[in-house]
């Protein structure tokens, strides 16, 4: 699917609107879009909606040997995928420039800020540590993927519980959730990215740009910060030169936004925790708003399956009776066997007809004259072969098969033979031989 380019008049319209301090969605310059966090039924699964941008995050864990350079630290792995669902033009499995830069930024935000205690993930130093894997999927792209992914990532990490382990001497026991309550990861702080888009060489600034605004922006500044006003990452990209006071102003805005978002995240986590504790309903089904006309729910419905047995019996009774199948192999002569339908082997018939044809050819050798030379020589050799042991024509097909198996007779011969004389695919002949081999063994 190809992406639609932005037309020049759209571009001019957007830039003019920004000059007049207006945004398409009616927000002010420093306004953030609405954030909605919903949790899945599994631990460590959440969907974050930032306006219409949607990111799915899932955390999983695994016991792995640690890196030799850091034997007492757990391994963290982050991966953001731009699913082709999110926007036309995104291809699956392609490491685009955008994707690489986003992944690197999220790694710096989540790993390099040391927000997750990696030493607590160690089980046996130098042997077994937990690998925490965070998968993020962009589901709908409406701008500002960075912020949405960073929120989704940290929320999923906070929501995740890993199985409890105990070490007794050399023995490591991993407990199932029924045996022992899973333990949360130890998270020191929550770094959250806030993006700023610059227009007209940095004259105009917008917080949380949408996809359209991202397309016309000159530069982008991303600041990752936690609620203690500690800056975790700053990245400026694009063709804009910023003044020191602009960055200072942005960091002040970031502090305000981060405080709001952190509060929202904590509230969402608490609500989910409460629902789980009280045994209430949770999961994606509960997060779908009921009143919307685009949604519809149905309670658990019964399906009457009372007389399906009779119905099935009827269908089987009406159907043609299956041909008799011999489950046990039929032994024609000692050392041979046949498995499959019917007593008469279908390939035996073929062989006979083949031989008949061969006999015919024997009579009128001109018939083969139009065939290519190579084939002809091969044909004559097989003819000789049939001549040399005449009684085979009369005997049943097994012996002929044995002839084919002999090493001096190249298997290629039979293949060409069949392909000329009948439209029997050579594969079949090959299979026959294989089957033959197996049974004669």
């Amino acid at each position: 699917m190809k992406a639609t380019p932005l037309s020049n008049c759209e571009r001019r319209f957007l830039l003019r609107a920004i000059q007049e301090k207006k945004r398409l969605d009616g927000r002010q310059c420093y306004d953030y879009r609405n954030i909605r966090v919903s949790f899945g039924a599994d631990r460590g699964c959440c969907i974050v909606e930032l306006g219409r941008t949607r990111v799915l995050a899932q955390v999983s864990c695994e016991l792995v040997p640690p890196k030799p350079s850091r034997p007492t630290e757990g391994v963290l792995f982050f991966n953001l995928e731009l699913s082709p669902m999110a926007a036309p033009g995104l291809e699956p499995g392609r490491q685009s420039e955008l994707l690489v830069s986003l992944n690197r930024l999220l790694e710096r935000c989540l790993r390099d800020s040391k927000c997750i205690e990696t030493e607590s993930l160690c089980v046996v130093a130098g042997e077994k540590v937990w690998q925490i894997r965070l998968d993020m999927h962009l589901l709908n792209h409406d701008g500002n993927i960075t912020d949405a992914a960073s929120i989704a990532g940290i929320v999923a990490l906070c929501h995740f519980r890993r199985p409890d382990v105990s070490v007794q001497g050399e023995e490591v026991t991993v407990y199932t959730p029924e045996e022992r309550d899973p333990v949360p990861l130890s998270i020191h702080h929550m770094p959250i990215c806030v993006s700023f888009a610059f227009f007209h060489q940095g004259t105009y600034l917008l917080v949380d740009p949408t996809e359209r605004e991202e397309r016309v922006m000159d530069g982008l500044l991303v600041i990752a910060m936690n609620k203690h006003h500690e800056i975790c990452t700053i990245q400026s990209s694009g063709v804009v030169m910023l003044l020191p006071d602009q960055i200072l102003r942005c960091s002040k805005i970031t502090a305000v936004k981060v405080a709001e978002i952190t509060e929202l995240i904590q509230k969402a986590l608490e609500n989910d925790q409460k629902a789980r504790k009280e045994g209430g309903k949770f999961g994606f089904a509960e997060s779908i708003p009921n009143q919307r006309i685009t949604t519809f729910k149905m309670e658990s419905a019964a399906v009457d399956t009372n007389d399906v047995e009779e119905q099935a019996g009827e269908i089987i009774a009406k159907a043609d009776p299956p041909s008799e199948v011999f489950a046990s192999p039929v032994v024609h002569t000692p050392g041979t066997a046949q498995i499959g339908e019917g007593i008469e082997s279908s390939w035996g018939d073929l062989e006979e007809s083949e031989k008949e044809e061969a006999a015919e050819e024997e009579g009128e050798s001109e018939a083969a004259a139009f065939e290519c030379e190579k084939v002809e020589t091969e044909d004559t050799s097989t003819l000789k072969e049939t001549k040399s042991d005449e009684p085979i024509v009369l005997s049943d097909s097994e012996e002929e098969e044995v002839v084919i198996l002999e090493p001096q007779e190249l298997p290629r011969k039979t293949r060409t033979q069949t392909s000329i004389k009948q439209e029997n695919p050579s594969k079949k002949a090959f299979n026959k031989r294989r089957r033959k081999k197996r049974t004669s063994r």
Binding site: M1, M85, G93, L139, D142, A285, F296, M298, A301, D304
Partner: protein, 221 residues
């Protein structure tokens, strides 16, 4: 949350269903389908301009992608993509849009059993939401055969693990025809026919659900 199903006097139960249509802004059609705790999100683009290499002269080229939640798509996802694509192609009137491309992307949101049938349902809802011309609707029904021979509709992940065989059918709305059938494990001909007959009945309930949700979507209030 495991919704336990009672199997009382030959009755099977579908887990609570819910669906949301048109929830994504970028795709031309989108749907989230939930069966109990299993949920799949589908997004559909097209019919749109196709790449020259993928273009078909007589009909629309349909591409189905199934994205797992953790890790990269593997062999299982590939084989399911094939099943889903062939099922969609069977009902999609692609000849009306020759030389175009339709791409359907399915994202697993959570897997709590009967994932393939949920994928089928989500795919059909996305096709409906995109307003593509279809010859019929289809739905997915999964049955599990328990070791004692009883059949179980819409099994959870745990029930699937314990089952002797798991059968998934795609049923078309016209004459309840079978569009696709796939089984895992071993079952007899009688059991297979039983499940199929039961699946055709469950399909009626699911099609009623489709009808109600689309009616609600296009209602004025």
């Amino acid at each position: 949350m495991a919704v336990e199903m009672e199997v009382a006097d030959g009755q099977c139960r579908l887990r609570p269903f819910s669906c949301e249509l048109g929830l994504l802004s970028r795709p031309d059609g989108s749907a989230a389908f939930l069966q109990g705790d299993t949920s799949v999100l589908a997004g559909l683009y097209g019919p749109a301009e196709a790449k020259i290499s993928k273009e078909l002269p007589d009909r629309a080229a349909l591409e189905v992608l199934l994205r797992p939640k953790v890790g990269l798509p593997g062999v299982l996802e590939r084989s399911r993509e094939q099943l889903l694509r062939q099922t969609c192609e069977a009902v999609l009137l692609g000849v009306l849009h020759p030389r175009t491309a339709i791409s359907l992307v399915l994202q697993v949101l959570s897997d709590a059993g009967s994932l393939l049938s949920c994928c089928l349902n989500a795919a059909c809802m996305a096709l409906l939401d995109a307003g593509l011309p279809l010859a019929a609707l289809f739905c997915g029904v999964t049955y599990a055969l328990q070791p004692d021979g009883a059949i179980l509709l819409d099994p959870t992940a745990r029930q699937e693990q314990e089952a002797r065989a798991v059968l998934t059918f795609a049923i078309a709305s016209s004459d309840r025809k079978v569009l696709m059938a796939t089984t895992k494990g071993s079952c007899s001909v009688e059991e297979m026919q039983q499940c199929l007959a039961a699946a055709q009945r469950a399909a009626s309930t699911i099609f009623q659900f489709y009808r109600d949700s689309v009616r609600r979507r296009y209602s004025k209030n």
